[in-house]
Each structure stands twice: as C-alpha cells, then as structure tokens.
C-alpha cells in the first residue's frame, strides 16, 4: 500500500498547478464561460504544447503513454481551477474509443492529431431521451450508397460547437440486447447535414444539440466493426469517468477550501463565523465529500492502470461519490457563504454549475449505483 504520488506525478501536479494558476484565475473562468463558444483556444494551444492531449495515447500514435493515474493528477488540478477544455471529449473519450475500436490505420490516421491537440473531437452519445445506458442510443445509421446515412439528434454534447470532428455513437441494428448494434462514426462537424446549436442554461461549459439530417458517412469513417462498438465505448466511458471523477474531486476540494477560508475570515457578532457549529458542519460536509471523492477516484484509476477486474465497479463507485458529493459540497459552501456566494464574480458559482452539470455527465449516482449492483452480482 502506498497512497503517495510518484516522482513523475508530483512533477505533473506542480506543472499543472503553475499552469492553472496562470491561465485560469477566477475572472478568466467566468470570461470563458460567458464567451459564445466557451472555448479558450490559446489555453488549449498551451495545453497541447505540454502534451496533455496525448497523455493517455500510446507513444506509437504520437502520445505520451502516461498512466490513467498520471492523467488523474492533472484532472484533479484542472477541477480545482474549474478549467474548461475539450480535453475529456477529445483526448479521453474519443481517443480511447478509437484506440479500443479502431483498426491500426484509423489509429494512425486519427490519434496523432488528437494527441497533438490539432484535431479536436467531440463525443456524441446522449439523445433527447437523456440517459447513459446503451439502450438510450437510438440515432439511426442506415446502410446507403455504400456507406451509412445518419438521421437523428444528439443532445447535451460538450464541445460539439468547437470540434473539428464528431465521434458519433449511432445504432445500426436493433435487437433484444441494446448493447448490440452500436457503431462509431467519425463525422466532420462541417459535414453536410450536421447542425450544431449551443444550448442555453445554467451549464458552465457549453453543451450542444447536434442534428444529423441525412448525413452521409463513408465506410472508412466507421471506427471498428459495425454494430460492435459497445465494448470500446464502455472502456472509454470507464476511463473518462474515472478522470472526470478526479476533476470533480478537485472542484470539491476547492469549494471546501473556499468555505473554510471564508468561515475563518468573515466576522459576525465579533467572532469568525467558523466558530458556529452550523457553519462548521457545512464546512466539514464539504471536506468529507472532497476526501471521499478524491480517494475513491484514485483507487479507480489505479485499478484501471492495473487492469484489475474490479475496475469497473471502482469507477462507478467513484462517480457515484463524485456526482452527489460535488453538488452537496457546493450547496454546503453556499450555505457558509450566504449572499456573497451567489455573486458570480466571487468565484463559487462556477463550481456550483459545473457540479450540477457534471453530476449527470457519464451517468449520475443512480445510474452508477445500479451499474455497480449489476457488476457485483454477476
């Protein structure tokens, strides 16, 4: 047992902290969130320079071949600073799905672009019947003209508005098992018939409605065997979910620290409000959630790195903890901050909206608890 970071991870953590301290002050996060695209291209370019988009891509495809735990270290820091980027969509979800499903020429063709940050992929999975099980994918891809035609709508898709390519999970066949018949397609965002609309709401990073209206895709743009994408998608989901959980743990840690610090400095009735037990309990709630999210996420990552058979359960456990915990910690931190916390410029609300948005992304706690039960019984 050794719960410490290794030397490389410590370096990564220091680098990430320096990077974020410079690039992601509170005002900048707000500015990016408020911008029409929600995308800070220069931040992405700097991330790309230091190789982050290629971290979990093997060296043979232009990446760094880092472990998922290494990437988790970076994600924890990104979460602490509420950093928005298309990293999860492109460099984790898309890269891992392609890595798992694609043939070698596809990997050679697609992964180096992702690894260098030059190509940004969105990952289009959820639909108007919003859910994360394989049965919720109903967007139809039908055989036509020696390729496929896509028709339907994807909803709540991060980064689709700024992506070069969209990796679409679509249904090419229906059967009794919803896991069968799913297929991965690479579709350029500018392809004919694709339209992208940024959705409006209290969402933090942008999510999009993506419509596919008779979009033609050549066979060469099918990643892996038609109908057999689910195992690759599920692997990509597990890896993305684990690092996302650590991003959320980082955010949870931040809102805990904000609450603690505020409680020590805000004076009421002549004493710091942190001396009131009700205030203490809110701060402690946030702390407990932060530590729970952090350790369960790191455990999931080490299991992924080890190829442990229990990894999927550990991932779902971590996301269940992070999903509920980040949101609860934000509520608790708001309770401590009272009015000032609702001021957008103060810096708490960007975490709150991320917590509420990411709560569902890649499955909420209810979804993951049900998945755990399924995996644990079988």
């Amino acid at each position: 047992m050794d719960l410490g970071l290794n030397e490389i991870q410590t370096m990564l953590q220091n680098l990430a902290r320096e990077f974020m301290e410079t690039e992601m002050p509170t005002a900048r996060v707000l500015e990016i969130d408020d911008s029409p695209s929600g995308f800070a291209v220069e931040v992405w370019e700097k991330m790309s320079e230091i190789g982050w988009p290629g971290m979990v891509i093997p060296e043979q495809y232009g990446g760094l071949g880092s472990s998922f735990t290494d990437l988790g270290v970076v994600y924890e820091v990104m979460g602490y600073y509420a950093c928005s980027s298309p990293h999860l969509s492109s460099a984790v979800l898309a890269s891992q799905a392609i890595l798992e499903a694609g043939n070698d020429s596809q990997k050679q063709a697609l992964l180096p672009g992702i690894a260098s940050g030059q190509q940004i992929f969105a990952f289009a999975y959820t639909e108007p019947e919003y859910a994360w099980g394989p049965g919720s994918v109903q967007l139809q891809a039908t055989r036509q003209n020696g390729g496929f035609t896509l028709n339907g709508t994807k909803l709540f898709i991060p980064d689709a508005n700024i992506a070069d390519q969209i990796l679409v999970v679509a249904r090419t066949a229906s059967g009794s098992n919803p896991e069968d018949g799913l297929t991965l397609f690479v579709v350029p965002r500018e392809a004919s018939g694709v339209s992208v609309r940024v959705q409006s709401g209290w969402l933090g990073p942008k999510v999009c409605e993506v419509n596919f209206d008779g979009v033609q895709v050549a066979d060469s743009e099918v990643v892996g065997a038609p109908g057999g994408a689910w195992p690759a998608v599920e692997k990509a989901f597990d890896r993305a979910t684990a690092v996302l959980s650590l991003y959320m743990a980082g955010g949870t840690q931040r809102v805990f620290e904000m609450a603690r610090d505020y409680s020590q400095t805000r004076i009421a009735f002549g004493v710091p409000i942190g001396t009131f037990q009700r205030v203490q309990d809110h701060v402690i709630e946030a702390l407990n959630q932060a530590d729970s999210a952090k350790w369960s996420a790191y455990e999931a990552l080490t299991q992924l790195d080890d190829g442990s058979p229990g990894a999927a359960v550990a991932v779902s456990l971590a996301k269940a903890v992070a999903s509920d915990g980040f949101a609860l910690a934000c509520d608790a931190s708001h309770h401590v901050h009272a009015g000032i916390g609702t001021d957008l410029e103060y810096g708490l609300t960007q975490f709150t909206k991320r917590a509420r948005n990411l709560q569902h992304y890649l499955g909420d706690a209810i979804f993951h608890k049900a998945r755990m039960a399924r995996l644990m019984v079988t």
């Binding site: 009421a268 009131f276 205030v279 708001h334």
Partner: protein
C-alpha cells in the same frame, strides 16, 4: 377538524372578477409566468406597465385602504387575488417586502412627503429598493458600506451597498448608512429614503445567480437633503429592522407547488427505456418525497394561518415553516436533477427547456434563498430560541435573536399614531435594541 379551504360565494365571485381582469390585462410576454430574476430589459418594460395596472386597481397593496392607494380588500379577498396571481406564476409582483417597509414608513405618514410616497408605492407609480436582507438581519457595522456625513442641512452619502427590489433602476432607495463612526452600534446608523435620480448614484451591473435579487448601488458624494432622513440620526438600524420584524415566514410564502407540478409533468411525459420516468421505481420514490415535502409545507402554512386567525400564540411555528420550505426547495432542486438529468439545467431561452425553464430557475433560486438561513443566524436559531434553547449567555448579549412577533401596522390602517408610540413599540422588540 377540517383541512379544506372553503371559499364563500363572495370570494368565488371576486375570483371570477380577478380572473377576467387578469386575462384581459396580463401582457403576452408574461402569460407563461415570468420572474424578475430572469431579467430581460424588454420584458421588464411590460412588467412595469402591468405593475402600474395592478397599482391602479389597488392590487399592489390589496389590503390597504383605498385612500392610501391600496385595494381596500379584506384578507379573504386578498387570498383569492394571491392565489390567482400564483396560478399564473406572477405573484412575485406582490412579493417584495415593501409591505413591511411601508409599515416602517407609517409613523411618518402625516409628513406630507411620506404620505405621498406611500400612496405612490402602493399604486406602483414609484419603485422602491431596500437594503439586501442579509445586511439588515444582523447589525454588522462592518458590513454597511455606505457612510453618511452631515454637511450643513444635508448629508453626503458615499460608498456601496446591496439592494433588492424590482426593476433596473429605483425611483427611491431605502438606505441604511453609517452616520456616527465611533458611537455604539445601535446609535451609529441612519436611514434615508432617497430619490434614485440624485447625482452620484450609480446602479452597477450585477452579476449574481439571481439577477433581480440583489443590486449593487454606489454612491459618490451624493448630496441628500435632510428631509430624506427617516426618524432621527441613529435610528437607522432600528427603523430598518422594524421593517423586517415580521416572522421569517411572511404572509406571502414562496409557494413551490408549481415547480413540483412541472417536475411531475416532465416525469409523466418523458421516458427512459420505454417507461415513463414516473414509473421508474427509484425516481418514483424521489418524486413522492418531493410531493410529501410540498404537502407538509402546505399543511404547515395552513396550521400557521389557522393559528393566526384564531388568535393563538405563534411561537416556533412560522420559523419552522420557513425552515422546511427552504429545505424543501433545496431538496426539490436535487430531485429535479435526479429525475430530469441535464434537462433540469436548461433555461427559458432554450427551446428544449421543459416548462419554460422554471426548474432551472428553481435550481438557482433555491440556492439564493438558502442563504437567508445561514449557519450564523436563521430559522433554526429562531426555532431554538422559541424552544428555550438560546445561545450561551455570553454570546446572546451580542446576538440579537428576534422573538417578538411583528407589531401590527403601528396604529393600523386607520389610526394615525404618534411617532412616540411607535418608537417605544419598536424599541421593545428585541434584546439587542435594549442593550
């Protein structure tokens, strides 16, 4: 026992009148309901216009005498009006604490300036902003950002404060300022009622979770005539607090039934794996939990109304009702997210937002309102006080725990109280004031 709200024929007749009038007069933009927290300049103009119409009917101050611009309605009729506005999600027009603030103005009603102003507020022809609640709940001199310095017959205001109220710019501001920097807290403040158009007053773009809830206003060497001073120098906090002496659950609690209905509707109409969300066993449990909390809130409001109407001593009840409403709102926001997923976060501008984004607004507002029940002071503290479990002696001397019920309109709607009467009434209201 009888838990049914029974309406008299007269009430039902009045309801019909209200329905007809509202159907005829509500502007198109407001027909799906609207909230000032979703500020939008164009729509706000419609709001102002409709507000003036309400004011002309006397319905901005339904229970006040017509002579003062009110509606002259009985409580029974007022309830009907509130219900109908609530049904249309427009009750917020009557939700501002200006009701309470007017009570604080009443002592000065004989002063010509104040009397006119009161009528103007009642009829909706002027907009009044008042200090943001957090500031007036606790006397925290350090948190008062505005200073008033005497300069001849005038006062010079400078600094910055948070205000709440409708609209984008007020006609008048109720200002709580520090007047005597070095004196004891309860003598250090002055209250002013100041025209919004005076020089040096700037409303700053506010960026909060609930844009219409708290506005930052700055004062740069704003010269204020002495007649704007309310009461005497040093009365500021006392007067401002008097305007908030009502128990936390005011007569106009924020009802959440509509948000719950919108959520239930979504759960009936939307499916997961072919099954309506409402039939998903886990979500069903959560939805019923939300339903139960909503019903408990209703029952507590009924209890409070029954206790008030039968003249029973209210002790912890109003604070309990408010506490449970605040918690239920937070829980509803959680359950909405569990049931609706990402849909719970789409606002009214998104074409796919369910129920015009009302549940996204609820997400934000439940957080904003939660801040009124801080760990330092709030509903739980009030309940504990009523149960005889106060703060330790040495702290309670520093902390005002308000327990007295609201003084009814000093002098009532008909009487014309002497100012002295009111002052003594107010100053007996809390331990802090006695210190």
């Amino acid at each position: 026992m009888d838990f049914a709200l029974q309406y008299t024929d007269e009430q039902q007749h009045f309801r019909q009148e209200v329905k007809t009038w509202l159907d005829d007069n509500i502007p198109g933009e407001l027909r799906d309901g609207w909230f000032p927290q979703d500020q939008d300049p164009a729509v706000w103009e419609s709001c102002l216009a409709f507000r003036r119409l309400l004011g002309e009917k006397g319905w901005l101050a339904p229970a006040e005498p017509a002579a003062q611009g009110g509606g002259g309605l009985t409580d029974a009729h007022e309830i009907v009006l509130l219900e109908e506005l609530e049904d249309r999600r427009l009750r917020w027009f009557l939700d501002t604490p200006s009701q309470s603030l007017k009570q604080a103005l009443l002592p000065w009603i004989n002063q010509p300036h104040t009397g006119e102003l009161l009528t103007a507020i009642n009829t909706g022809s002027v907009l009044l902003w008042y200090p943001w609640l957090e500031q007036v709940k606790e006397l925290e001199l350090g948190s008062i950002g505005i200073r008033a310095l005497r300069d001849g017959d005038d006062y010079i205001l400078s600094g910055k404060g948070l205000f709440t109220g409708h609209g984008r710019r007020p006609d008048y501001l109720w200002i709580l300022a520090l007047a005597g920097p070095e004196s004891a807290p309860e003598e250090a403040t002055a209250a002013f009622l100041v025209p919004g158009e005076l020089d040096g007053i700037a409303v700053q773009t506010n960026r909060t979770l609930a844009p219409g809830e708290a506005m930052a206003v700055s004062f740069e060497q704003t010269r204020v005539p002495a007649y704007c001073l309310l009461g005497n120098d040093g009365d500021g906090w006392l007067l401002t607090r008097a305007a908030f002496l009502e128990e936390p659950a005011s007569r106009l609690p924020r009802l959440q039934e509509h948000d719950l209905e919108a959520l239930l509707l979504f759960a009936k109409e939307n499916f997961r794996e072919g099954v309506p969300l409402l039939d998903h066993p886990v979500l069903q449990q959560l939805l019923m939990e939300a339903h139960i909390e909503s019903r408990i809130n209703q029952l507590f409001r009924m209890r409070d109304a029954w206790m008030r109407s039968t003249g029973q001593d209210m002790t912890y009840q109003a604070a309990q009702t408010a506490l449970l409403e605040s918690r239920a709102a937070r829980r509803l926001s959680e359950i909405s997210r569990d049931v609706m997923g990402a849909y719970a976060l789409l606002d009214r501008r998104d074409p796919r937002a369910p129920s015009s984004g009302t549940l996204e607004l609820q997400q934000r507002m439940s957080l904003v309102h939660q801040s009124q029940d801080s760990g330092v002071e709030g509903y739980a503290a009030a309940i504990a006080q009523h149960l005889g479990m106060g703060m330790p002696q040495d702290l309670s001397q520093d902390i005002s725990m308000e327990t007295s019920p609201a003084p009814n309109h000093p002098g009532g709607a008909t009487g014309k109280p002497e100012q002295a009467d009111v002052s003594s009434d107010v100053s007996s209201a809390g331990p802090l004031l006695k210190k």
